[in-house]
């Protein structure tokens, strides 16, 4: 049998888990109503259970105490009995499909923000500031220690009374328990610090109190770090000692192991490895912990593929694999393996859109699957065939929005033609994937290509759609997703011309797309501060160019999320790329065989010049609107999308009307947004086609 190890049930404590796949604890930023697991939250986890996930550990960083702020990340609030009935709904929904569900409970200590809500004073063993959250804190007092130990026990009681299958104590990611463990943070000299036993004491008292409250039969695990990767922090050997110490109590039913500490930006990037990392980069740390403990070990970090998961389990490195982002990208991953549809799995590409939103306090969403965490709105993971008329749907543009529109329309049973000017699908994803460390983003396109082929969509590549091409297809519905072009004409002084021989500047697309050879000494001017500019600089540097990337914003890459800018910085600093902020590009002119770029400092007004061989500009995307306006008047809805229906994710009213074709446009051909925005609009627009 294929995937035998993956589907081998396992006993954790008294609990039988149907397979070895876990959706590990992550902050969903979905809990509402003061931290309650309401409809959206329940449906998000129900979908995973329905899709076959063995164990879901929900509620990453769910606080047990009121001074561990809950609101910033819309965490689940385990500090109140009000949560209990909500847990019952959650447990029923997951159990109904045979899955098990636990929750992570914690006190985050210093790892939070104090500037809002209850304006809590954050606590830490020695009052040392946490860099990632820029969080200052007080030194915790004995009374507070015992109060929080009691809060943990009460939190665990609420979890048990709510019918969940267990709880995971977070002693990872520099929460209060591992703040006590780590000599980097714990400088105390009383019984709560110093020696190994003293540093262990707080966690041990928490464990004892929790166990005393919930009894022996309730599942209680710990999530720990495998190595903090800080010279003054906990090493792998320290962590083995700690794991063995707690394991010896017999009170821990399982360990979850994560590689890397995370109280600096650089280590944080390790914790949720993005696409620049190899598969399972920290498995060896989890395997090391497994050597010294007697209970099952869970490990999640860049495990996205069923075959990879099977290999890890067969190798016996750990007992359960966390496939958390894999489930965010496709909650039906297990069901698809079981149905022999492995090639239909929408695989996580490690874009980290989910986690980077979370660190901004935004709800977790998937860059490529717009249905994830929108199950409560009726956005489907499995698209039902339409029982209505079969329509001829023409989609123009094979970027993410167009591919999603074509996929969804085809799943609805319609006759779909997708027209793409380029020789391949993907749109801007194709360009993004050209950059060093970013190739895996092409996985988004790969999945669509396979799905469109499976669904029999007529994909016409290297075809430029004008209004006659579209009309000749006699469409009932036209979806324009034809994107735009680099916006270089915004400032005439930049010297951009349509004629490449005359243009003084080139675009990031020209460079990444291979249309223009990298120059020797290159200036990248990036107004967006997102992936595109950084990728261009990284690409140029990797080709041997000397690169400076300049922005009028505060720093290049500043709009990139917390788990990805560090990997760019690692690469750019290593290649001596100069990153300069606060300079606006006024003018580019030629001087001999060199180009001169004239900058003005945002704050002083002083001018600076750079003399370079090549100026590359990343100034976002200007929509291509000509096709839209050519078709607009003839269309029965004049190209207008009914926003009430769109936002409610219901059928567009014009579909029920008669007349010439209905016309919709989505993605960057309307205005530049991002991959998720294009896919989301495509899904909610086409799901009722």
């Amino acid at each position: 049998m294929a995937h035998e190890a993956l589907f081998k049930p396992i006993q954790i404590g008294k609990l039988t888990i149907r397979n070895r796949v876990v959706s590990t604890a992550h902050a969903e930023v979905h809990a509402t109503d003061g931290g309650m697991t309401t409809d959206r939250y329940v449906k998000y986890y129900e979908e995973k259970s329905k899709g076959g996930c063995g164990l879901c550990i929900c509620g990453g960083s769910s606080p047990v105490s009121i001074d561990s702020p809950q609101q910033w990340w819309s965490s689940v609030n385990v500090a109140t009995d009000r949560i209990i009935p909500h847990f019952q709904n959650l447990a029923d929904a997951v159990h109904k499909h045979g899955g098990k569900i636990m929750i992570q409970i914690t006190h985050m200590g210093r790892r939070s923000r104090w500037d809002g809500h209850n304006w809590s004073t954050l606590l830490s063993p020695s009052g040392i500031r946490e860099p990632v959250h820029r969080a200052t804190c007080k030194t915790i007092e004995e009374e507070e220690i015992w109060r929080i130990i009691g809060d943990f026990a009460q939190g665990a009681r609420r979890v048990k009374e709510g019918g969940l299958d267990g709880c995971e104590l977070s002693a990872v990611h520099q929460h209060l328990i591992d703040q006590f463990w780590s000599p980097r943070v714990n400088k105390r000299t009383d019984q709560w610090g110093g020696s190994f036993e003293n540093r262990m004491r707080f966690g041990m008292e928490v464990l004892k109190a929790v166990r005393a409250e919930v009894g022996d039969d309730f599942c209680v695990g710990m999530r720990i770090c495998g190595d903090e990767f800080h010279p003054d922090g906990l090493s792998h050997d320290d962590m083995k000692q700690i794991a063995a110490y707690y394991d010896a109590t017999g009170m821990v039913d399982f360990f979850g192991v994560i590689g890397s500490g995370c109280d600096t930006h650089d280590t944080l990037a390790n914790v949720i490895p993005n696409m620049s990392y190899p598969p399972e980069p920290f498995l060896h740390l989890a395997a090391g912990i497994k050597e010294v403990v007697s209970v099952p070990v869970i490990h999640a970090q860049n495990i996205k593929d069923p075959t990879q998961a099977e290999r890890i389990l067969e190798g016996g490195y750990v007992d359960l694999v966390g496939m958390t982002r894999a489930h965010i990208a496709d909650p039906h991953i297990i069901a698809k393996i079981k149905a022999g549809q492995t090639d239909q799995i929408r695989q996580c590409v490690g874009a980290n859109y989910c986690i980077d939103r979370q660190y901004q306090g935004l709800d977790v969403l998937c860059i490529q699957n717009a249905a994830t965490s929108r199950e409560y709105m009726g956005l489907p993971h499995i698209i039902e065939k339409s029982s209505g008329p079969k329509r001829k749907v023409v989609v123009v543009g094979g970027g993410p929005g167009g591919m999603e529109a074509a996929r969804v329309a085809a799943e609805r049973g319609h006759d779909v033609t997708l027209i793409e000017a380029q020789p391949q699908l993907g749109g801007q994803i194709t360009l993004a994937a050209r950059a060093p460390q970013r190739d895996q983003i092409a996985g988004i396109t790969r999945w669509y290509e396979m799905e469109l082929a499976r669904l029999g969509v007529d994909v016409q590549l290297e075809t430029r759609a004008d209004d006659s091409v579209v009309r000749d297809l006699q469409p009932d519905v036209v979806v324009l997703a034809n994107g735009g072009h680099p916006f270089l004409e915004q400032v005439p002084e930049w010297g951009y011309s349509d004629n490449p021989d005359e243009s003084l500047v080139v675009s990031s697309w020209d460079i990444l797309g291979g249309k223009v050879e990298p120059g020797k000494n290159v200036l990248v001017y990036d107004t967006m501060c997102e992936f595109s500019g950084m990728s261009t600089a990284d690409y140029l540097a990797s080709k041997g160019s000397t690169v400076e990337i300049v922005t009028d914003d505060t720093k290049p890459g500043v709009a990139i999320g917390g788990t990805t800018f560090p990997t760019y910085y690692r690469s750019l600093y290593q290649q001596s790329v100069v990153m300069t902020g606060d300079l606006g590009l006024h003018k580019v002119y030629r001087e001999g065989d060199k180009l001169v770029a004239l900058f003005e400092n945002e704050y002083t007004g002083e001018h600076e010049e750079r003399v370079v061989d090549q100026v590359v500009i990343e100034n976002g995307v200007r929509p291509d609107e000509s096709l839209y306006y050519a078709l607009k008047e003839r269309s029965r809805n004049h190209g207008q999308i009914d926003l009430e229906a769109l936002y409610a994710a219901t059928a567009q009213p014009t579909l029920a009307e008669s007349g010439d074709f209905a016309l919709f446009r989505i993605g960057d051909c309307v205005a530049q947004r991002n991959t998720h925005a294009a896919i989301y609009d495509a899904l909610r627009l086409c799901k009722d086609l």
Partner: protein, 674 residues
Amino acid sequence: MLQTLLPILIFAALAVGAAGAVRRIRLWRQGRRTPMRWHRLALMPKRYLNDLHHVVARDKAIAHTHVATAGGFVAAMALALVVHGFGWRNPILGGLLLAASLCMFLGALAVNRRRIDPPPKLSKGPWQRLSKSLIAYSVGMFLVSLPLVGVAPTVLGGGVLAIVLAAVLVWGLLEMVVGMGWGGPMKHAFAGTFHLAFHRRPERFDDNHPDASPKKTHDVHRGSRSTALFPLDLTAKTLGVEKPADFQWEQLLGFDACVQCGRCQNVCPAYAAGQPLNPKKLIQDMVVGMAGGSDAGYAGSGHPQQAGGIEVGKPGFGNHRGGPTDAIVPQLVEAQTLWACTTCRACVEECPMMIEHVDAIVDMRRFITLERGETPEKGAAAIDNLIATDNPGGLDNASRLDWAADLELPRIQDRPEGVDVLLWLGDGAFDMRNQRTLRSLVKILRTGGVDFAVLGEEERDSGDVARRLGDEATFQRLAERNIATLSRYRFARIVTADPHSFHVLGREYGAFGGDYVVKHHSTFIAELFDGGRISVTAPTQAETVTYHDPCYLGRYNGEFAAPRQVLAALGLEVAEMERSGYRSRCCGGGGGAALSDVPGRARIPDMRMEDVRETGATTVAVACPQCTAMLEGVVEPRPRIRDLAEMVADALVEPTAATNATSAPSQSREEEPA
């Protein structure tokens, strides 16, 4: 002159024919002897005129032809003996003799017409001659009998014409009487008579047998579908059949009854796929072995890919030789021929002479496996696994319930008071595809409020594959251990979604002391519908569905109706395949054929999928894990393959809270959509 000569000719023919018959009987009796039950000869006429005729009558034209020819001949021969042989020249008898001869003549003309351009299933050679011989006999007998009614044709006077007529009569008598005893085409009548009387499976002729078909039409076997393999005595000196003489004598007799009509060849899936098996040739090979010699005289289609090929009468036969005490494999029959069989019983079902091809093949496989240890590669691996782990996949038997970890299935070990239904999972429990079927079945049982339990890791493979691959020892060991396990628990009946388990537990364990009421899930689900215990929602979209009858459910056990009832209950209309019901074409997965994997020109499941496509169906309903696996192995695009249980589970109306108040909380558990 002719009048004087005729009695001499008749008695001489009878005497020579009888001598041949004695020789023939000796040939049959080279087989392993069983006590002679002479009284069974009395059963023959009913079996001949009724059971055999029903099979023949599936082809009406041939039935009529045969009735006319054979009936005419038997009557003409009997009357000729009286009138011409013993000289009782009664005009009435003479008239009857003329009528019988005429009747035979008309039949013979029909036979002759069929022989002008015979279909490929028919053998040529002496069989081409037979129609002429029939005409010769009937014409000769007619003419020679005319004086009895006062007509005196000149031919009888003497001279050349009389000599010609005498020659014609001699030709007729030689073919019909001498040839019958000495092995001409007419041998079939003589051997067939005895074969029907001494058939090893008398239940097949018993209309009143408990499992006889309730339907008494031409197109189904009327007696029991006696399909259990005969147990092998594992203490015997030689295990299985090495040489023709190792067959039981009734089997040799049965082979000898073959009329080479080729109905078996036409329905054999392996033959159609170009694998080296033609059941007709195989039976003729057995006859060659029994009598000694080579297959040079064979004039039908051969085993594909082998000398002689499949073209009728193509020269090239003669390379395969045999004798009663010579090893069959490989001199007479190549091992590949035996391993190509899927044990689907289509040949047995079609055989008008009720020959038991599958028994013979398994007997020979037993020798290859048990005495020579030459089971083909994957088959050997499966057997090794069965020996080591009690399942053919070599998996930890304790993992048999892994797929159901989240279903919390009731264990029979926890139900000492007994349960209504013991759910037998079969080895499909290890297969991800079949687990979906099993989950669906569990959902149905729970929705229907069925009191059921499973054996879990105590369940072992039923032994089906081991037995069909010839490893009777492993089969018997598994059977005995399963029976010992089952004897420890109380249950009213066994339900299984696996027709192979269904067949083996229900029909083959009896010989080892395991007698159970076993129901296939299609039967059980049909009963749940009938009892109003489950209900379904109407289909939302019109869909063309066809149904593939699994061999071990249909032909082996006669269950054709229940699956169709289930589909009807789902509100689906079934577009039947041309080959469905008792004539269903095998998926290619039975009898270990999927393991022996003998190469052919085509794949059997591909051909079956072609049958499905011809109906225009977008879904083919199946009822067997093996069929599911084989048909899903056909490359896409192709119709969807769904087990009946999956189709029912998807359409089930979930019991409301009120009606479900008494059931355990676990019964509201839903399936994952996988």
